[in-house]
Symmetry: C2
Subunit: 435 residues, 2 copies
């Protein structure tokens, strides 16, 4: 049973604070272990990858090879075409929609000349190469492959490398099919901190990349943090979460299903309902209990809901925006009469799903928007994955003699005030040394 | 004397690789120390800040107060108005140009409805609050205050907090004047890892912020890395660097001055000249030696030039783009006949300065573009500071019943293929449960 918070309760504010402060993941201190792994990969290269894969994934890479060859991917695609053609077709629809949406995100390079005659520009270009981390085992989702590979492709990244652990040799063929569809250039069957190290520093088999993105376990997260600087990284992903703001004019079954869709990801996931109607909250809670009974991943979802689930009952949904901004949910569903208006008033959310016919799940798969979104309240300062993550902006400046004549003296004054005479001279010489 | 690389030399490729691999900073392992400092600040709050400031900055914050009050800033502005009115005026010009340029960077929120009837949007909003780290002592530059505070203001950040260490109580009044000019909301005289910890976790006096930006020493860098996730951070700054691509049709004095302007920052700074004319390279080298003799920071610049400086002589500048992309310089000056064309062919650079009348120093101060740029080859994957760093993008989705009818079945197929029955149900219930 989820915790219940009620804003008429004098303890509401402290209960809300506690909820925000709740740690949903034990952040095991794996830094030292990860540092060793990274060092080992830097020194030993492929040999270290073979060692760790034998130890952690129970696979002999000297037998299988580190790279998943194009022929193996062909085979996987064939398997999928035969066994689950509907899934392949659905993946294709999702791919095309994700591609279409992300194309619209492409930033425009711009250059202009200002009144002083200075040409200023911001030029966007793709990073040269990127490494996509894809978790193995149960959490190896083909949809996530599309969500990271497609924006990279749209951004114009030339070399897209995917790493995916193959515990006991197993790889989801649909993951390989998704990689093929999205234009992934190379795939290696290796995971964990060792895969991150290989992507950052390179080995004989795996050439280094410029940026690493994608979610992983605590070891992967720690490794990404440690190689940050050597390569770029995206944000560190935590357990998934949803905040559903719903008034009484909703089918409790629908809302319950949305809460459980999030909860079934992980026992550490969090589903929160915010409503202005206690009776509606009761109905949703009853529906959750009922749906849990028949949900295949009911034990996971149940634990998530019981431990981290929450129902927040407010006197008025007018207070919802301020509280939602503090929660800064990865996913925010708004199913109220004034959903659009409420959405406008909320600043912090990874993605907002407006109206009762926009379940979050649509965003997970086929809407076209990205499902890699900021977790653990980081929507306060970061954004979902997009083409921006695979591009960088170069500043362009161009002055002629006249423009330099106009701006130079100001630069010289500032250089002197900062005690940087060499800076001053670099301008002075060009102005004839006369000032 | 800078090292000389020549592409006719059979060793060129390995010499170039060595240059790229060169560590210019001893990355002291300060992680454990920083972890202690952060923990201490989290537990003890202001008391810890007082302790560390006494120890590291030789200042008694219980006497001076932690906050630099508005009255103190008034006083600093008055001092500057009296003593260096020209510097204040120059700072104002710089401020206005930086503001004008960054306004053009503001991303537009966009929403559209696609053929399936799905409304998709990307909505940009400012982060609520930001902490600006400003180094103290010699490297306390008012221009850098503008470069981080102005984009934050333009982005729409409501609360802009600045921290700056005050070694033995000293603060550069021009830094405070710049903060006032740029609209900084609060200033605290504290630096180091303790300041970063206070900004991330908050103390009684300093409310926590959402994102921390700005350069600092190894302790500050390590602290930013450790609090990443709790708050957002910008990239980790390393020593400054310039790559100048110049043909023989340049005044060697100008080019020498540009190399030294970079070198005078720090003994770990790096200045590289790339040219297709060995005789011109000799002239530049001679000019560097001559200018060094009279440069106030000549010992710093000289050490930087002798240890890390490099002259790369190529048979043809046609090879420059590929090499420049590998160097991925923070600052790239191109002073050649075909400078525009060459600039187009280079992807990796923090900022490009085109033509002989665009010394990098103009970008440091008054061009309007940002001078906080990616160092240590990180221009391969990251961008200079800009309004984007102070904003985040929220994905917006809205479907009506018809759009859900169209997309829902595809989402259900994918959910099932990923073993997420709860996801499937969330859509199925809305489609009448009939599929």
């Amino acid at each position: 049973m989820a915790k219940r918070l009620n804003d008429v309760d004098p303890e509401f504010s402290s209960a809300f604070d506690s909820m925000l402060a709740e740690k949903r993941e034990v952040s095991a201190d794996v830094d030292a272990v990860v540092r060793d792994i990274i060092d080992h990969v830097r020194v030993e290269g492929d040999v270290a990858l073979v060692d760790y894969s034998r130890r952690f994934d129970e696979i002999d890479l000297t037998a299988t090879g580190l790279e998943i060859t194009s022929a193996e991917v062909d085979q996987a695609v064939e398997t999928v075409e035969t066994q689950t053609p509907d899934a392949l077709e659905a993946l294709r629809i999702a791919h095309d929609r994700i591609e279409a949406h992300h194309r619209r995100q492409l930033p425009e390079s711009r250059t202009y000349k200002d009144a002083a005659g200075v040409i200023l520009g911001d030029r966007w270009t793709a990073v040269d190469s990127v490494g996509l981390y894809v978790p193995g085992g149960l959490a190896s989702y083909p949809s996530s492959v599309l969500m990271s590979a497609v924006p990279a492709k749209v951004a114009g990244v030339k070399r897209i490398v995917m790493v995916v652990p193959a515990p006991r040799g197993a790889i989801n063929p649909l993951v390989l099919a998704a990689a093929r569809m999205a234009g992934v250039s190379e795939i290696y069957r290796v995971g964990g901190a060792q895969a991150v190290a290989a992507l950052a520093y390179g080995t004989k088999t795996i050439a280094p990349v410029v940026k690493i993105v994608g979610p992983g376990n605590a070891y992967v997260a720690a490794a990404k943090r440690q190689v940050f600087g050597v390569v770029g990284i995206d944000s560190i992903a935590g357990p998934s979460e949803v905040l559903v703001i719903a008034d009484a004019n909703n089918d409790p079954e629908w809302i319950a299903a949305d809460l459980l869709a999030q909860a079934e990801h992980d026992t550490a996931a969090q589903s929160i309902l915010m409503t202005d109607d206690a009776a509606f909250a009761d109905k949703v809670e009853a529906a959750v209990a009922q749906q849990l009974a028949t949900l295949p991943r009911g034990n996971i979802a149940g634990e998530s809901w019981n431990v981290f689930g929450a129902i927040i009952v407010l006197r008025s949904l007018d207070q919802a925006p301020a509280l939602a901004d503090r929660i800064a949910a990865e996913h925010l569903e708004i199913a109220t009469a004034n959903a659009d208006e409420l959405a406008e008033r909320i600043n912090n959310a990874g993605a907002i799903f407006i109206g009762a016919h926009t379940p979050e799940v649509i965003g997970d798969y086929v809407a076209g928007s990205n499902h890699v979104l900021p977790t653990a309240r980081s929507a306060r300062f970061s954004s979902g994955l997009g083409v921006f993550d695979f591009m960088k902006r170069t500043s362009i400046l161009k002055l002629d003699a006249a423009a330099l004549e106009e701006l130079g003296p100001t630069a010289m004054t500032l250089a002197r005030s900062e005690g940087l005479e060499g800076h001053r001279r670099s301008v002075e010489l060009r102005l004839g040394g006369s000032r």
